[in-house]
């Protein structure tokens, strides 16, 4: 399976944050997310996680959600990739 996780994650962030099409392409591993982007509040993150579950066919438990995983683009991508491998 070719890994489209990165592309899909950028698309979901684009949808949630209302970014222009090329803006998410500039995200790198260190780009800050939760706690760095004021519009990404808990309600938006809840929506983001639900959307990730729906589009990537994974289930994210509450106790898997921690600050590290949500803090940067790289952290979230690593988490989602690992999730998809075990799904």
């Amino acid at each position: 399976m070719s890994d489209d996780t990165d592309l899909m994650l950028r698309q979901i962030l684009t949808d949630v944050l209302g970014l222009k099409p090329d803006q998410a392409a500039a995200f790198d591993g260190d780009t800050g997310l939760f706690g760095h982007l004021p519009e990404l509040d808990s309600m938006a993150v809840a929506g983001l996680l639900t959307e990730l579950e729906d589009r990537l066919d994974i289930v994210i438990d509450d106790d898997e959600i921690d600050g590290e995983m949500l803090e940067t683009y790289g952290g979230l991508l690593a988490f989602v990739k690992a999730k998809r491998q075990t799904a």
Binding site: T14, D15, L17, G35, D41, A44, V45, G47, I65
Partner: protein
């Protein structure tokens, strides 16, 4: 019901559409979009009424005493009062579509999904504040004492009845794919989209033709 507020485009035309809004936080993010769709339908010769759910927005009633049946009744009463011939319901609003009118559902969701997301948002903000809450723990609390979710104070009976609710199955379903782009309810900040409003209004107008 006579005391309740509703936004309408009413020129006593033949085709009269009750618009059942999205719920809670999504209602805020989709309100502008919803009104944009109504504006287009007005232009297409269709009257619309957008009521509030009792206890939300401009409603004068307290929210925490509401039960889902009260919301169903309120939408049915609004439809009667307005003389609605059809219904458009949006997202969680699809759970409260009056039974007898032909309905279009836009991106319908189940009660359990709405609740799950609200509970998740609450556990996330608790965690940020250094408190540990779990969805299971919150749900138990909600069923006993009621709970505040996304700023909405919901009673235990509301939670109990809301969770298993499903949209009516005989509606004309309009999915996000049909409307194009990504759902505006996902946006962290309220957004708008001319193309999406055009597409949804067109889908509704076609179903009423």
């Amino acid at each position: 019901m006579a005391e309740e507020y509703g936004l309408s485009f009413d020129r006593s035309r033949e085709r009269r559409l009750l618009v059942v809004p999205a719920l809670f936080d999504e209602a805020n993010r989709l309100r502008r979009f919803t009104v944009e769709v109504m504006r287009r339908l007005d232009g297409a010769g269709i009257d619309t009424l957008l009521p509030d759910f009792p206890g939300t927005n401009e409603s004068l009633q307290p929210l925490e005493i509401q039960e889902p049946q009260d919301w169903c009744d309120a939408m049915a009463a609004a439809a009667r009062l307005f003389g609605a011939t059809h219904v458009l319901a949006i997202r969680g609003g699809c759970l409260f579509t009056p039974a007898k009118l032909p309905a279009t559902h836009y991106a319908a969701v189940k009660g359990a999904s709405v609740l799950r997301q609200l509970l998740r948002a609450r556990t996330l903000s608790a965690r940020e504040a250094g408190r540990e809450e779990t969805r299971e723990g919150l749900m138990a609390l909600a069923l006993k004492d009621g709970i505040e979710l996304a700023g909405y104070r919901l009673g235990p009976e509301f939670i109990r009845q809301f969770e298993p609710m499903l949209p009516r199955e005989d509606s004309n379903e309009v999915t996000q794919d049909a409307v194009g782009g990504s759902g505006l309810w996902l946006r962290a900040e309220p957004g708008e989209s001319t193309a999406q409003a055009d597409a949804l209004a067109a889908a509704v107008a076609v179903s009423l033709a």
